[in-house]
């Protein structure tokens, strides 16, 4: 496993910080956001790709998403002993990411639009715009915004010649990637799949888009207290950025080469809300069907689940709907399952969120300690489960569920289980 996150540049740091209940949220330094409705985010700090790979200059024109992905992949493949390991058939090693797009050249685009926009006609002089764009946009950096570049670069750089996919289903993307990559191994399409996600929407257009939707917290006075999933006074999510990568491997293949095994992927559920593009169905129907699908896939009983890493965005609608869904699926036992939201500390890594949260759930199984939901202060009668308020909890867990629900209605649930040799 590998991770580049607002709470550290390794899986170890990421997990330790969560157990300590740290917040990765701070005022935005990546650009001038002083006059935006929201002026804070969970940023990856002091990231230097050169500390992770030798030839970082190869990725100089790539977006933050790709650069985070390269570093997290380097860690994950080193951890799995699959870097430069040619005892493994590299044509049987694939890639399935939920990687976001790169970052638009906001400055040049806005400058050119301002020059070529004709307010009287509400139209753009496209010839003027095109002439400007052809001379000032940087061709490589423009190309690197395309969402197929990161998975291709990883395949090329790390010699992974098997099937190569990238899905982009908003906040569910990297969970969906891990679920489908698991299915590809089950089906025999590959022996090893690099999976996960990487994304940054902490840029002027990203912040603009989410602020226009009024989806973000605007608690500029207290950024570290802004993300408060399931708390009565929650009022929106906090943007984050980063990457999480996992190496999935067919069990016998892993055994034969003596690989160390973190956990087993035991359940995957995937549904669509088919409700609205702006929010999820308040009765939780998509989430319910999705969690049920993952449970059915795993063959586990509801009482087997010992921990839920929630989607837990800190919006009114999500946290209420997710709670309804958990209660619907697990019945009275729902009250006995500890549930926490990594987003209370990491913010929302959008396409990368699910992978980083799954890694968190795997570490919770391994270390027998569950990360908390921080900023949980005032209970909401509609959110009445055990959210592991503010302090990590020691508990040995056999099976954990991780949920991810995308803007637009894509729902994903993954179940991971302790592996017994």
């Amino acid at each position: 496993m590998g991770a580049i996150t607002p709470l550290g540049h390794s899986v170890e740091e990421l997990f330790r910080s969560q157990i300590e209940g740290q917040s990765g949220v701070s005022p935005i330094e990546l650009f001038n956001a002083r006059q935006f409705p929201t002026r804070f985010a969970a940023q990856v700090k002091n990231f230097d790709l050169g500390r992770h790979v030798k030839d970082a200059e190869r990725f100089v024109d790539s977006g933050a998403n790709c650069r985070f992905a390269v570093a997290a992949t380097q860690q994950a493949l080193a951890d799995a002993d699959l870097l430069d390991n040619h005892k493994v058939d590299r044509t049987r090693c694939g890639v399935y990411l939920g990687c976001g797009e790169g970052i638009q050249d906001f400055h040049n685009l806005i400058r050119l639009v301002a020059q070529s926009y004709r307010p009287e006609q509400r139209s753009v002089d496209t010839a003027l715009f095109a002439r400007g764009g052809l001379s000032c946009f940087h061709s490589h950096r423009e190309f690197e915004q395309e969402p197929h570049t990161a998975p291709a670069h990883l395949a090329d750089y790390f010699d992974l010649q098997g099937p190569n996919f990238n899905c982009l289903t908003a906040c569910a993307a990297s969970s969906q990637a891990i679920g489908e990559a698991t299915e590809m191994i089950r089906h025999g399409d590959a022996d090893v799949m690099l999976s996960g996600g990487a994304h940054s929407m902490i840029h002027p257009f990203g912040l603009t888009g989410f602020n226009l939707l009024t989806a973000l917290s605007t608690n500029n006075a207290e950024p570290t207290r802004a993300s408060r999933p399931c708390d009565l006074n929650r009022h929106g999510f906090v943007l984050g950025e980063g990457a999480g990568m996992v190496v999935l491997e067919e069990l016998e293949h892993a055994r034969r080469r003596g690989a160390s095994i973190y956990a087993e992927m035991t359940g995957y559920g995937s549904t669509g809300d088919a409700f609205r593009i702006t929010d999820s169905c308040p009765d939780g129907r998509g989430a319910i069907a999705c969690i049920r699908g993952a449970m059915k896939d795993s063959g586990l009983a509801p009482t087997d689940i010992g921990y839920i890493n929630a989607h837990g965005t800190s919006t009114q609608v999500n946290d209420r709907g997710e709670t309804i869904a958990i209660k619907n699926v697990f019945g009275d036992f729902a009250y006995k399952i500890p549930v926490s939201s990594s987003k209370s500390m990491l913010g929302h890594l959008i396409a990368a969120a699910g992978a980083v949260e799954l890694i968190t759930a795997v570490m919770a199984l391994r270390r027998a300690i569950l990360p908390p939901t921080i900023n949980y202060e005032v209970p909401d009668p509609d959110c009445d489960l055990d959210y592991i308020p503010n302090v990590a909890r020691e508990k040995r867990v056999e099976h954990a569920l991780s949920n991810s629900f995308g803007f637009g209605g894509q729902n994903i649930s993954l179940i991971v289980s302790r592996f017994h040799a």
Binding site: N32, R34, Q35, G94, H107, L109, I110, R111, V113, A114, Q115, Y117, V124, D125, T126, A127, F129, A130, L134, F137, S139, E142, F143, E146, P147, H148, P151, A152, A155, D156, D159, Q161, P163, N164, F165, N166, C167, L168, T169, A170, E180, E183, G188, P204, F205, T208, G209, L212, S270, T271, G272, A274, F275, R276, I277, T278, A289, F407, G409, Q410
Partner: protein, 425 residues
């Protein structure tokens, strides 16, 4: 894992393309060798180096959306509108009574790409933020005043997963819902994944497709910078010439191709017309774009189908008309099919449409499905002089279908490859 007994068949085709909307018009154009490449007129393209494209004229999304749902058109970019139209046409062609579909077993899977913001929407905030100094974007002004001048749902109009989201909402499809964002190969990967999801018994009915439109100022500028586009502006209909020796670059097109894909027994039970069965899928990465990775993807698909290269009637190639891409594609195909006693002919549908990017694979595939239906493979346009570096037998005249299998091949310029095998029903 034991092979699934569940089989997936194609029961509906929906296409919105530069050569026609719906299967009848599309087939008519293919049969009469009518190219859809024209001078680009969607906006003033005079400053662009490439000014020809596969443009759709007179498209009106309202025709494809129920009256009560039409308010949602304003939050759909053109790409989303094309996807929604293609999906409606595929459902119509499949003759489905939606009331009979189980929403939980109805999936949607699309190939999609980046969608450029309409410049008119960012004109007002741009003007507010760049007033005094033309080279300085004042983010203080953008945040304080500019932002509020934009439509509240602005971002949702441009997210790639919104193609599949809108389609699922319009048709109450609550099954698996995914969006693959890998450029030219995206919608073929989507088709492969949907085929596998049906086989593992998580859906009975799928709308699978891809849609794209780069024919707007921002996308055209960006693609002019990084895509090898043709300079043959004076001769649009002859500009896209896959595998031909005098080809000089790609052409962008717009459109959507959507398939209704259905579990066999489900299709039989409702008496559906079946075009073909999906019998094989494979994917691979071609490191360095030399051909062997593409060949591996094709071999994996043929192996999945349990057939030999000789069993294939024709290959529905990527055939971009780019100088380099056609070479390594041809090498990869030659590696698999070069040894066949009877050459397996190659069809390149882009010669009619240009490249629909994320919409390419599924749209192009419909040409082969109609070929199986009509017993006749259409010609590739503009293939006049073979290129020794492209050792593939391109069909430049229509010819009869003689075998039951077709292979669809797609890839990205960075080496992501996929192939699917379909069998005439």
């Amino acid at each position: 894992m034991a092979p699934s007994s569940r089989r997936a068949v194609v029961t509906g085709l929906g296409m919105v393309t530069p050569i026609g909307t719906g299967k009848a018009a599309f087939w008519e154009a293919l049969s009469s060798r009518r190219s859809g490449i024209r001078p680009l007129t969607a906006f003033d393209a005079s400053a662009l180096p490439c000014r020809v494209a596969g443009q759709i004229n007179g498209f009106d999304a309202k025709q494809y959306i129920d009256k009560k749902e039409r308010k949602s058109i304003k939050v759909m970019s053109r790409t989303i509108q094309l996807a929604v139209a293609g999906a409606q046409l595929a459902l119509d062609d499949a003759g489905v009574d939606k009331a009979q579909l189980d929403p939980a077993r109805f999936g949607v899977e699309f190939g999609a790409g980046l969608i450029a913001s309409e410049l008119e929407e960012i004109g007002p905030p741009a003007r507010i933020s760049v007033d005094a100094h033309p080279d300085f974007v004042d983010l203080d002004k953008w945040g304080a005043e500019g932002l509020a001048s934009m439509p509240p749902l602005w971002m949702l109009k441009y997210l790639p997963n919104m193609l599949a989201s809108h389609v699922s909402i319009l048709h109450n499809a609550q099954g698996p819902n995914n969006t693959i964002t890998e450029n030219e190969v995206a919608s073929l990967l989507a088709l492969g994944e949907a085929y596998r999801i049906i086989a593992r018994d998580l859906a009975d009915f799928f709308l699978v497709g891809g849609a794209d439109s780069k024919l707007n100022p921002l996308s055209m500028v960006r693609h002019s910078l990084f895509m090898p586009l043709t300079r043959r502006n004076e001769d649009p209909e002859r500009a896209c010439r896959p595998f031909d020796r005098s080809r000089d670059g790609m052409i962008l097109g717009e459109g959507a191709g959507v398939l209704a894909v259905e579990e066999l027994e489900h299709a039989k039970k409702r008496g559906a017309h079946i075009y073909a069965e999906i019998v094989g899928f494979g994917a691979a990465f071609d490191r360095g774009c030399k051909g062997p990775g593409l060949a591996r993807a094709v071999r994996a698909a043929l192996g999945d189908a349990g057939i030999a290269p000789e069993d294939v009637d024709h290959i529905n190639a990527q055939g971009t008309s780019a100088v380099e891409a056609d070479i390594w594609e041809a090498r990869g195909l030659h590696e698999v099919f070069g040894g066949c006693k009877c050459p397996v002919p190659v069809l390149a549908v882009k010669s009619y449409l240009g490249s629909l990017i994320a919409g390419s694979s599924t749209t192009e595939l419909t040409a082969s499905l109609l070929a199986l239906e009509h017993g006749k493979v259409p010609a590739t346009l503009n293939y006049e002089e073979p290129d020794a570096r492209c050792p593939v037998p391109v069909i430049n005249e229509s010819q009869p279908v003689t075998k039951p299998y077709v292979v669809k091949v797609s890839f990205t310029e960075l080496g992501q490859c996929a192939a699917a095998v379909l069998k005439k029903w």
